[in-house]
Subunit: 342 residues, 2 copies
DNA sequence: TTGTAGGCGTTATCAG
DNA sequence: CTGATAACGCCTACAA
């Protein structure tokens, strides 16, 4: 029976395991010829290094864990897609854990990730249980909160300013002349980002004399449809809808279409996210573009720098920007009310 | 300086590492009191097991790798979401690698996954380079192809029958009376699933006397919009559009809306996937529902059974079904042509 | 029920 | 430039 691993190669080449290890790690102090010899031996036996053994010896796993509510929402998927790409380029692996929408799972998932050997943890949002924070601290595990730009728990945050986003969005609408706007948003419990956006909207509305109708919904297209249905049948007296995420806006768009409510003539609609389809819809959606991909790259970069070079992890505030497309216009009298009756 | 790991606990409790290890692995042959003692000691020192060491000793990493083209397309994200959930319940971790849409990256990513210690590999589609297949075989690494239900490379497949899907879809359209339909599909190079669907469509069209117009596009909403634009301006003479994926159908829907082409009055539209929004659109999209989540669960289950119990990995064919909603109707004369002139 | 000791495949520290 | 050897933290016969 042949020996496995470096030992086998050592035997096969007549060299020592140390030398084998050196060529494995591209150490410079190896004779060119020796290296060739080892390399070809490796090819010959189809040698594959054992990551676990290496991890044990170096106490480096080159693995980073991320926990998100779900992969089924494209905003998280796009973010992780960017993270994965950047991490892969740096030789790190990404292992993903979902909470299945239940924040009470977060701590457990983080623990699993750590037990698995993750060298850093990527979290969603700024709010995390003390137990989770403790777990992180007790192993002093680097971690970063994403989709937000500040936290009150001491963890660095890489993301955007949700309150500012809400603020800018409502002001833009106000600047167009809207004074009665409905705000459709996802669940606020367990979602600090949504709460922050709402608070920004409220502040902006106060400044601009805009009267707000808040309307909660689930974070999916169906939620947008239901919310729109309610808006159109029970509220009516609004000139614009601000949807705090594009999936919800899509629902509003669909429901408006069904009711022959023309956007932006009868009603303006503004979203937030800038998803794949947002520029393509009819009409194209005016929305807040979130720097999702840049955020992913930035998170990956920060973590890798920290792990490889010991650089501190700084919070990063990425700018979001409103992209004007065709779904927002000046209000036209009681257009919606009229349209609803059509 | 305290000793780390099991050794430390052994010292702290006055027991041996073997006993510590036993409680760690919930072995039954350990005294209840002893167990308590160890457990509380573990809590006291905040013990965290070292996965690398365990992996090295047991040669089990409890990690499964998946490579997909991208996470940015919700069809993959939803699939992996299901995989992750099922795997997590079984105590396995999922590490994800993307090819960034370039099949030539696939082999490298698979190697990275294997080098990382993945115990099984999840692949997308049935087509894979010989180099990749060899790499898998030489380490006899279990792997499964997904989104397809058969392969010619010896690997098991868990998924649906793409040709049958295309076949059923076009026949349904034909049964509604459509004889001239445009098929909009994503890239065919490097995508066997799309090719299979097209072949099924062609066979069905032949059987039913349907004349087809094939129209390739990119696999996103924008692609659907462009294709629709071309269809509406240059082709015209069709009564239905069969979109081989829902994202593309969404583009068609948007473009039709922009041109005041009413679906399904002027034109029928049928999709494939059944995404989040498909039941909510205006009109709701008649589409082929792919068992994405079940597929994810099935893949996870098969792999886990194999790894834990040595059960063989069988190919699984999951049924897809057409879900009738509002976007397909009988053709009405030259409605589209008329509508285009409106 | 508990303890002892060897080994898992690499890395890294010394000498040579 | 190369070699011997001791960790790394855990598991698991085999003994007791």
């Amino acid at each position: 029976m042949k020996k496995t691993g470096v030992r086998g190669l050592a035997e096969a080449t007549g060299l020592s395991v140390a030398t084998i290890s050196r060529v494995l790690n591209n150490a410079d102090n190896v004779n060119q010829q020796t290296r060739e010899r080892v390399l070809s031996a490796m090819r010959a036996v189809g040698y594959a290094p054992n990551a676990a053994a290496r991890a044990l010896a170096t106490s480096r796993t080159k693995t980073i864990g991320a926990v998100v509510p779900t992969l089924a929402h494209s905003i998280f998927a796009r973010f992780l897609n960017a993270v994965e790409q950047a991490l892969a380029h740096e030789g790190y692996a990404l292992v993903i854990a979902t909470t299945e929408g239940r924040p009470e799972n977060e701590e457990r998932r983080v623990r699993e990730l750590m037990d698995l050997g993750a060298e850093a943890i990527i979290l969603s949002g700024a709010e995390h249980s003390d137990a989770l924070l403790d777990a992180l601290a007790s192993r002093n595990m680097p971690a970063v909160c994403t989709s937000v730009c500040e936290t009150s728990n001491g963890l660095p945050a890489i993301g955007y300013d949700n309150a500012a986003i809400g603020h800018a969005a409502i002001r833009r609408l106000a600047a167009c002349g809207h004074r009665r706007v409905a705000v459709v948003h996802g669940p606020v419990s367990d979602n600090d980002r949504t709460r922050l956006r709402i608070s920004g909207v409220e502040r902006g509305a106060g400044e601009m004399g805009v009267s707000l109708t808040l309307c909660g919904s689930t974070l999916d297209v169906e939620g947008g449809v239901s919310a729109a249905r309610q808006l159109f049948t029970e509220i009516g007296d609004i000139t614009a809808v601000l949807s705090l995420s594009d999936v919800i806006a899509l629902g509003v768009l669909f429901e408006a279409g069904r009711r022959r409510i023309t956007i932006p003539d009868d009603l303006s609609l503004m979203g937030c996210d800038d998803l794949d389809w947002s520029a393509q819809s009819a009409p194209p959606l005016t929305t807040v573009r979130l720097p999702t991909a840049r955020m992913g790259a930035s998170v990956a970069q920060s973590l890798v720098s920290y792990l490889d070079d010991g650089t501190g992890i700084e919070s990063v505030r990425l700018e979001a920007s409103i992209v004007e497309r065709g779904s927002v216009d000046r209000p036209r009298g009681h257009a919606l009310t009229a349209a609803s009756r059509r």
